[in-house]
Symmetry: C2
Subunit: 420 residues, 2 copies
């Protein structure tokens, strides 16, 4: 798309507003294009409408703002109207426009908060997911008459050994993942959705992610996590359509009672605090042994290059396998997980430091899977028991969300749940 | 510079390391350049050495990681050795290299934490400043025999009305501002400096900034803060050399007892929480009246365009000035502050949300001035009493730092303090 200035969309009448106009509705202001603005990167846009929601197989953008909301609406109609309003706004913002097409009256609050007005679309995607608590509250009560459609895969995740979950960073009725190449665009999106939700839903927790830790496309280089290692080498790539169909998208018949999820996916979100100071004091040898790959190239310790398959039967001096059985690569590999794969979409984060001066930082793990019960839970259960890396990790936040399929043109996110 | 891969610098011997080499020092590995990596923006570098420290008049980069450190070293020699080690690392990282030129032994911790290995220099600048507590501790004790050189301008800032400072986000013996166009590069810099400081200094607090809120060069468009308004229109620009000399750099003779500060500056850091939800519910009319500029263009309410001078004597209907006397523009304007100007270099931030679902977000204010006692303190004292904007702001963190002049080739930051 061309670089449409968001401010034109807002209906501002320009500088004249300053001279006392009492209320107005402006046009699409080509005249408002600022001459001094350099063309910037980030003109890429993704469609809100489609078979699947954007932000899943979309090539992972550089930045994340993730939030979960507690729904305070009490009726199904209110919930549906929230999702309709959110869909309208999300579709607009993904096109690089303001959150609302309403003209701003001078004596009313602006319809958009404005901090992204001069910024390009920046590849923004907004992805919605429903938590188990949207269907049934803590006491098991059917909140919106949707309980009989709760997917069987959408249960609270079990407690994993070494979990130290902070309830203020866990759960939520609805999750919203905003990814963009400019963090201000992602923050703007969540903020405006939060504003639209006023009286119907409120942010429960939020997480800023500053660097992507996975590639979701073969066109992307593998990024590094805060342990300094390439992360997600073996990630599912969007170009592998058969793999995506098998491992990411919910298939028709997967869950007859929740057929509305066909074409959707499940999002596992885990805030993983990394003990960087401890890691940084361990030797390169130990680090590589724990990961099962070398640090410079990300090549498996059994030899070859980054994208060569690890060979778990290759032994070194002393007869020990070059890739240890408690290494991350060994335990995460599909071969050792009944063929299970995930589409990972995580981000590095840092949230300041603790009282001892240690960085509060780590990896905000996001993974999309067709069946959490087979693709995430068993692997995480095993890893949290056996993975040598766990010594350096602490899971501090958690959520599981049913991500409905894409939105038909003109529709709203989750409509299949309401109409099926 | 060309895209030198940081990994070459680390002295890795490549994939061979995986096959059991017990220790090695590799060369500068052109062979390690990954063929699948696209050329990325961010090749820009700035010099660590020079008359002034980089990161002040440098065109403001997009992202910030800021940290202050408590020095635990107890002797002047230790403090000096910390600054020497930091300078070596900062100079390297600003060139896009790893933090250390030491070859990594396989049985030792890597000399660099690695998460920036495949990333370009990204315009990184690292800027150091000294807090009042570096000279005298809380009881007034001369910590390092430097107390007689403490600049008279380097005092704890006074308490301003409406301050709600969090001691865990205030003060610090040494401040380090890392700015870059990639947040991972900025975080990597602070993390590696923190690591180098082990046993001599520890992070006291840190702040991630995601979007710059000021331009420091006429080549940059004015960005918007989280109130949706352009911020820093009247900021000092690097191109105005006379203004920079008058208002930013400490001049010879400014403070005879602290002549080591000649060519340096003072950094005021303020974490300003913005009550976004309240702001978002106020009318456009009210918002513009509070700021004194219109939102679409950032033009003064007295008319004209963004960069036109505000005319405080222009009156509207009813005889009231178009720019109110309690507006931000009025109170911040040099005309109304005895000609005082600042070089602002702030960033937007968000640190999640509070228990009520409100975003914990705002502006991390950074300003460089020649004389805080004239250029910041009186203005902030007046603003915090009179500025209509204060209703929407809360100052939650604070620090004042003496930023020493630039580093002569081969020297270390702050050396003028030690040798003068």
């Amino acid at each position: 798309m061309t670089n449409v200035s968001r401010r034109g969309m807002l209906g501002f009448a320009g500088g004249g507003a300053a001279l006392g106009a009492a209320g107005f509705a402006g046009g699409w202001g080509a005249s408002h294009a600022a001459a001094d603005e350099k063309p910037s990167p980030g003109e890429r846009t993704y469609d809100f409408f489609g078979e699947h929601q954007a932000g899943i197989v979309t090539p992972a953008q550089d930045r994340l703002y993730f939030a979960t909301f507690d729904v305070t609406a009490t009726t199904r109609d209110e919930l549906e109207s929230l999702l309709r309003a959110w869909s309208l706004a999300a579709e607009r913002m993904m096109r690089g426009e303001t959150a609302s097409d309403e003209a701003t009256a001078y004596d009313a609050p602006p319809a958009d908060t404005g901090e992204a007005e001069d910024l390009p679309p920046s590849g923004l995607t907004i992805t919605f997911g429903f938590g188990p608590t949207l269907f049934r509250d803590e006491k098991g009560k059917d909140r919106f008459g949707l309980a009989d459609k709760q997917p069987k895969e959408l249960r609270e995740l079990p407690h994993f050994p070494a979990d130290k979950l902070d309830p203020r960073r866990s759960g939520g009725d609805i999750a919203v993942q905003a990814c963009a190449d400019d963090p201000q665009v992602a923050v703007h999106a969540i903020r405006n959705l939060s504003r639209i939700a006023f009286g119907l839903a409120a942010i429960r927790w939020a997480q800023l992610g500053f660097g992507r830790t996975s590639s979701t496309s073969t066109s992307q280089a593998t990024p590094r996590n805060l342990f300094g290692f390439k992360d997600g080498t073996a990630n599912i790539k969007a170009e592998s359509r058969d793999v995506v169909d098998d491992h990411v998208w919910v298939g028709r018949g997967d869950d007859p009672k929740a057929d509305w999820m066909t074409g959707g996916s499940y999002l596992v979100a885990r805030r993983i605090t990394m003990h960087l100071e401890t890691w940084d004091r361990s030797s390169l040898r130990e680090q590589e042994a724990i990961i099962g790959r070398d640090r410079p190239e990300g090549a498996p310790l059994s030899g070859g290059k980054e994208f060569d398959e690890p060979k778990f039967d290759v032994k070194g001096r002393g007869g020990e396998p070059l890739i240890a059985k408690n290494s991350h690569v060994f335990l995460a590999h599909p071969k050792n997980n009944g063929g299970a794969q995930m589409l990972r979409r995580g981000y590095n984060f840092t949230d300041g430091n603790d009282a001892l001066g240690r960085l509060d930082a780590g990896l905000f793990f996001l993974a999309y899977v067709r069946r959490p019960s087979r693709q995430y839970i068993p692997m995480q259960m095993r890893m949290s028991r056996e993975d040598a890396l766990m010594e350096y990790l602490k899971h501090t936040g958690s959520g599981l969300f049913a991500v409905p399929p894409g939105v038909p043109k003109g529709g709203f996110v989750g409509q299949q749940l309401f109409t099926s």
